[in-house]
Symmetry: C2
Subunit: 450 residues, 2 copies
């Protein structure tokens, strides 16, 4: 009898796992259950859908239920919530959210790709109308439907999602206030870089409230009308809560699986949980920082796809390992691109490295080429060995993409001296003869104890 594989969750990790396993072993009977009405959507694209740069929510979807069934031979059920798991009997219970019916399924292998959910803070008024979260396509449709030119919106949380939505709502003619509990934005950046991000937001009309934890949401007749912090109340007609996510671990708890950081599901590097019949991947699972080897919870779309692929490979009969995460990331806030890879200074020091930072500013093209823009580039290095541990940058899109070269260098364990010798591309319209990466390496070499 064919082995039965049930996948819970139909976005990046779940569909990668299902597709890879089926490709390797077409005999597998694989079913995917997805609670929402959409599968295979890029939730990172939601801010741009809200900003109407992307018109149709379907554009965010790369694979439809029909594709999965007809092209990949995998039935996928949307609006189906897996409500219970009995790991000793290897059974799950599934609720059809359209008609309320319930059904039980037997599995040989269960894949938990349940993702993560936005954190809902426990503050008065958080359940008022006009308070939004942004994670699913349905969230995006709700938020977009509420946007009206001339209104004012409060965004609680100044992380990537919060700042991306701030940009997009501003472009829609909304007056935006960002509330960040910490004293500065994006604390993985050097302080002066946080300041430049702040200035970019302010220049574009966003009001940023730093060091102001939200104490309550004011409401009137059940509808949100303001944000209250220790400094007082700021009026607004809608609120986006974007203070981070927590892994969806209810099924994992019920199955008695070992949980790790923030309640994420502990997996080995083959994506197997503490129950040998259950796999986990994506934003619900714990991973490893590939520089420190330490456990980490870093929910990112790239990582989710790769973890899913690894789970699917192993279920399909290959022996595949996940190599951990550098934490490479990027976003843009108006015309400023923010990128990073590897460890930031605090992480590097916490991990026990003799870490120092070294900052440079250098044009992203030949200085005489008209459209050259400064690239701000910070290296985090081990001062005893010269090894590059991480980097952060601000600048143009072209600057941001340079972070990939540094991700490769960090991955390869290169020293700043080795980076200084790299043969990078050069032409006046694309890069200066000494690329910012080379200038940064050359400066950083002075901080290596010899």
């Amino acid at each position: 009898m064919a082995r039965k594989v049930i996948v819970v969750g139909g976005t990046a990790a779940g569909l990668s796992a299902a597709s890879k396993a089926k490709r390797l072993d077409p005999e597998l009977e694989i079913i995917v259950f997805e609670k929402s009405g959409y599968i295979s959507y890029g939730s990172c694209g939601l801010p741009y859908f809200v900003g109407d740069m992307i018109k149709d929510p379907d554009d965010l979807v790369s694979l439809h239920v029909n594709d999965m069934r007809d092209k990949r031979g995998i039935p996928v059920f949307i609006h189906h919530e897996v409500t219970h798991v009995d790991s000793s009997a290897k059974k799950i219970q599934v609720k059809n959210l359209d008609d309320g019916s319930e059904q039980t399924y037997q599995y040989d292998d269960l894949v938990l790709a349940t993702g993560a959910s936005p954190i809902k803070p426990i503050v008065p008024g958080v359940d008022s109308d006009g308070v939004y979260f942004l994670r699913t396509v349905e969230d995006g449709v709700r938020l977009k439907g509420a946007v009206r030119k001339g209104m004012s919106a409060a965004i609680v949380g100044g992380g990537f999602i919060g700042l991306e939505v701030a940009e997009e709502l501003t472009a829609q003619g909304v007056k935006v206030h960002v509330f960040e509990a910490l004293p500065r934005l994006l604390p993985f950046l050097p302080e002066s870089y946080s300041q430049m991000v702040l200035e970019t937001l302010e220049t574009n009309g966003v009001t940023v409230h730093l060091g102001e934890p939200v104490m309550a949401l004011a409401s009137s007749e059940g509808k949100v009308c303001g944000i209250t912090t220790a400094s007082g109340t700021v009026e607004c007609s809608m609120v986006l809560m974007s203070i981070g996510v927590v892994p969806n671990n209810a099924l994992a708890k019920e199955a008695g699986l070992e949980l790790g950081i923030k309640g994420s599901i502990v997996v080995d590097n083959r994506m197997r949980t503490s129950d040998p019949s259950i796999w986990a991947c994506g934003d619900c699972a714990q991973t490893e920082n590939s520089i420190t080897g330490q456990s980490a919870y870093i929910p990112l779309g790239t990582t989710a796809n790769k973890m899913g692929r690894v789970a699917g490979s192993n279920i399909g009969g290959e022996d595949s390992s996940f190599h951990g995460v550098l934490g490479s990331q990027v976003t843009k806030v108006f015309d400023l691109y923010i990128a990073a890879t590897g460890l930031n200074l605090k992480q590097a020091i916490d991990a026990g490295f003799a870490a120092v930072e070294s900052q440079v500013v250098k044009g992203d093209k030949a200085s005489y080429y008209p459209s050259a823009k400064p690239m701000y580039l910070n290296f985090i290095l081990d001062s005893s060995t010269g090894r590059l541990l991480g980097a952060q940058s601000l600048g143009s899109e072209a600057s941001a993409i340079r972070m990939d070269a540094l991700a490769v260098a960090v991955d390869a364990g290169m020293t700043v001296s080795r980076i200084n010798d790299l043969d990078l591309i050069y032409a006046p319209p694309v890069a200066p003869v000494y690329d910012p990466i080379l200038i940064a390496a050359s400066q950083a070499m002075k901080k290596v104890r010899s």
Copy 2:
């Protein structure tokens, strides 16, 4: 008595060598002689000066004679040509091109950074008025001075310089014909990529004559008026000759130095020539391909700077080595960016690798993000080990800069399987969740013999 160092040539390599040596050992007596009227200019910027994107030739200059003297303590003499060298007596003869006077100087160390000169083909009419070359700032001033809107120009040679000038003259309202002797443009690219470059030129109004070696330049009253090939004569009122460069090796020959590929000066990895008192660096010197370990002649600005720095380090008392060249390069032709690193297919096969190529096309941003553009990416890999040996790409500026990540991967000796696992940056406005680099690696893995 202070050691005397004489540097012949005041651009990238020569000034890097002089500056580095002086910084390491301020006691050194260093003099630089430069034949032209400009030092420290980026000759790669000349096409953009000709196109008037850069107004003033001085903008191409990063260091002036005064800077070198006052800030770095190095006297530099422009319009001074080193005409002879007596390597047994360690003397050179210098001619002041302004007043014709000659003088003899003694050296302890001589640095030949004499660069390269454009090849002048032996065809009838090549000495006519209206025939230009593009290497020095003076060349650029002459060429720019000849450009008039509505005229027609012939560019002989469809390499990077030829195509860059084709773009810039077209933007100035000049009708441009490019004559390329080979049957396709930029033969280091896959054939289909050469075709796309051709189409980009044609779409922008440039007429390209492929497989048409120039047989003669037609002239009237001493002024060029056409280009004659086997297909006939095309009228034009100016000609740019850009069919490559040859190393300036007259002094090296006189000194009896060992010469290598195309007559370039043979140096060890410390930049010392076959005469222990003479160093050479930059476009006059031979280098090594860092993948094959074979000798190579690859005149590039990036390489020249690095070779100069290595020569200067060793003269200044450090022990420094040059690690060879990958041959990373980039240019743009209108809105199409062309980039490459490492070996092309022919080079890889010639070097004895079991080389194969693997091509993909993938958007440079999330597919649903409005400004996404296709990136054409070709991997050259060793099919027996999976090692990435080189890559070529066409696409947007953002695509071109991805070549740096591949340069790092080639330098680190990564396999395509390792590249497939890389943690690269992702956000819809900057990259798709599977970056073109990852897609290319994933495809290339199928070509590795397992």
